[in-house]
Symmetry: C2
Subunit: 490 residues, 2 copies
């Protein structure tokens, strides 16, 4: 097949948009800003979900489900939250349609107007804390460690598949604790879970840190995040974990009887990752030939392609392929035998490259004679001939190699594109090439805003591991005690 | 703990409502008609999902995700569908809120009115077939076998937890085929998958059949269903599979090039089950002591309760309990060691009965001396003492026994409450006691409506296995060729 994808060098943004559609990951829908996640894309998301869900459960969390709709008044209860969240939302005002009086189609029934409008959840803190009020009475009810897998809607004006859509899928953890210390510990624990998932499963290296007040979640006292660097030198926030203090407990009057017999407000955290991770996964590894998927998240690990001229040769090849397929499957690999007779091997190769299948095995009549197979890996696009008897071991080794290699490649890329500067002129030059910049900042939101206005760069985070270092703010020259991470971002 | 649940005999409906809340399955929310699915209820739903998803994948289906919102005009495209579905819906009319001019809270921003209203999906045929138009061009693109796990909203006026809620969770399969025969085969295949799931996993016997035209899905040419009998003698429709013919393909202009080179409309099916299955599961098996769960869907299989007077005895008991717990877990059972020191064993027993944990193991100091444990089963409420060395085998055997026993009990109940009559007077008497009735019907919607008006009974289905039998309609005396299944229903 002809891939017909714009190259990254030519136009990175177009490359991404075309890749998402041509690799059958997602598509735009008839509803403005809402995407259709196609089966191949959804299969990757399911793998992500399964792994994250396992990690949440291993850290003591359980799943539950809360309503899609939130009464409008709930948003006004937490002052900062309403500023950040109750604006660009889908609003349900009516609950019935009727036949149009002119007989053409249907219209909204004016008599079926809701007394109070309902908001399609952009995030669920308010409805969940309103529920927790009934669930939490005593320290014995704590901690409450709940996660929800759900769809949410934020009415974005400019949307891009996976990266920013009006509706997206996510998980949102909402926990309740008896002490500030425990809530802070939970906030840190979950950002570590996200970082581990990003690095070990997505093969995407991330920097962990804390957001500046400007970039905090609306209603949080602190927001921890993981930040990844994409191939175009832009940052992508891949997950956040919020320490909410007692803000939502106060807004929804959630108090508990302490062990000592006093009444206190409950401490809260919330944390989430979304289908945006799909965007990070695609942009971090893929190349001009298509997707490059880490084996740990690939829906298909191995594709086997028979190479033959005459139809009767397929039977001969299948005799070798089918046992190999079963052996690979017994090792836990998902294998596709691409025996389509409607397209040529070259077309198949291109298609499997486009879809990022980590390993391809090709077998022709000569291989059968020689007892060999040709094994190609997607990440390096290299191929080698092996005795068929070794194929299972080679594939198993390659899966580890590929997972490791694409992580290392992304890490090397990040290293090569991370800079430290004390000059504002150089700062701007670097931004135009792209990359992470560690620079000093005077700690004021005004300076942060001015840098953003002038350069489009934001402070991605104050890295947890940033050492104490006396310096001068890159813009104002005022004193700073540590460098923060700047970048232009998705 | 005191269970404080109304008995079934006293008030079945109240028993159900109280059980759902007290067993921590679900709760009403602040949003009219929307429920909160609590962690214990959600854990059961997750088990259902995992099994169904496996069965869908084994039958060749893949998952995808389509938008939550559907443009209003889409509903008018299929004439019957609009009648059935576009009425009691949540309608999104605006996409922004703003601060209230009086400074108190937020209001809908009148400037942010949508040009075309969006409907929160009550079911997704329209948005999906609008998408399939872009995906299907040739017979090579068929069949398309897609499932979606999603939330849907139908603005019900009278709601009950799990059984009828404004928002509910479900799966909806939407398949596209080149021929009528293949679509009919798929429709049948999926009702069989549902029946197998209901009987083998939920332990709920079901009757498979076809709906009368009156009871068909809006837009379908045929609706197959599975019907279960609840303990109060009312029927519950537990799953449906629809043969949609070419209706949606015509409405959304989805044609494909056939193998012969002609153009034809695509054939369709859709099929779904929802969180309503939770209602069926609860009502089919539970008793006045609480839930009775089939082991195959129980989130916790075994609970171990230490019986002791003095705190130091717990250590001694734990020495026996912890290895037993590990052994049971190694066999694949989920085990909870209830070592709470804040409540008495009797309270724990009652709580575990309420939650339907299939097997309870109790161990006291005398058991340690004797090398025994007491094993109780939830379904029969019987208990027996066994050597601790046999505990793992006993539990493993009991899981099969319990799964089998509650299915048999439900089947016996259905047999005892299924009747055949040719007298309308007796028909009405039976309905007042409750149960399934096989009776003759003249095949007209008018008669069906009159029977419904007079008795509140509906035709649940024409069972697939109903034999040809000449008879006279129970109401009109007109000729009938087979009996159909009547009942009052949820």
């Amino acid at each position: 097949m002809s891939k017909g994808i714009t190259s990254r060098a030519e136009n990175y943004s177009q490359w991404y948009n075309e890749l998402v559609v041509k690799a059958d990951l997602a598509d735009n829908s008839a509803v403005r800003g809402c995407m259709v996640i196609k089966p191949y894309g959804y299969a990757i998301w399911e793998k992500m979900q399964a792994q994250l869900d396992k990690m949440f459960k291993e850290t003591g969390h359980v799943n539950a489900y809360f309503p899609l709709f939130i009464p409008k008044s709930f948003f006004s209860r937490e002052a900062n939250h309403v500023e950040g969240f109750a604006k660009e939302c889908a609003v349900v005002t009516h609950y019935r349609l009727k036949n149009s009086p002119d007989g053409k189609g249907i219209v909204v029934d004016g008599d079926a107007k809701l007394e109070e409008e309902l908001i399609v959840r952009p995030t669920s803190e308010t409805i969940i804390w309103n529920t927790y009020k009934d669930w939490i009475h005593s320290y014995r009810d704590l901690p409450l460690l709940i996660n929800q897998w759900a769809n949410v809607v934020r009415w974005e004006m400019r949307t891009r598949l996976f990266l920013r859509t009006a509706e997206f899928l996510w998980q949102e953890g909402h926990t309740a604790h008896a002490t500030k210390e425990e809530a802070l510990e939970e906030t840190a624990k979950m950002i570590n879970v996200y970082a581990e998932f990003a690095e070990k499963f997505m093969a995407v290296p991330v920097i962990k840190g804390v957001k500046t007040p400007n970039e905090r979640f609306a209603g949080a006292l602190d927001t921890y995040c993981i930040e990844a660097l994409m191939q175009d030198g832009k940052a992508l926030q891949a997950g956040t974990s919020h320490f909410l203090g007692q803000n939502f407990a106060k807004a929804f009057d959630v108090k508990f009887a302490t062990r000592e017999g006093t009444l206190d407000y409950v401490w809260a955290t919330s944390w989430g990752v979304s289908t945006r991770l799909m965007g990070a996964l695609i942009m971090a590894h893929s190349d001009d030939n298509g997707l490059v998927l880490p084996p740990k998240l690939a829906p298909v690990h191995v594709v086997i392609v028979p190479i033959y001229q005459k139809p009767e040769q397929l039977d001969l090849l299948s005799e070798k392929i089918l046992p190999l397929k079963r052996e690979l499957e017994a090792k836990g690999w998902t294998v596709k035998f691409d025996d389509r007779d409607t397209v040529k091997p070259g077309f198949k190769f291109a298609e499997h490259e486009l879809k990022g299948i980590p390993v391809r095995i090709a077998i022709g009549p000569r291989d059968v004679e020689n007892g060999t197979v040709e094994i190609a890996r997607r990440d390096t696009l290299t191929k080698e001939v092996y005795p068929i008897a070794e194929a299972v071991d080679v594939v198993t080794r390659l899966m580890d190699d590929i997972q490791e290699n694409i992580y290392r490649k992304a890490l090397d890329f990040r290293k090569a594109n991370s800079f430290q500067t004390d000059s504002y002129a150089e700062f701007k030059e670097i931004l135009d090439r792209g990359g992470f910049i560690l620079a000093h900042w005077d700690g004021t939101p005004e300076t942060e805003d001015r840098i953003k206005d002038e350069t489009k760069a934001t402070i991605r985070c104050i890295p947890f591991d940033a050492p104490e270092e006396a310096g001068k703010c890159i813009l104002t020259g005022k004193p700073s005690s540590r460098r923060v991470l700047f970048a232009r971002a998705y």
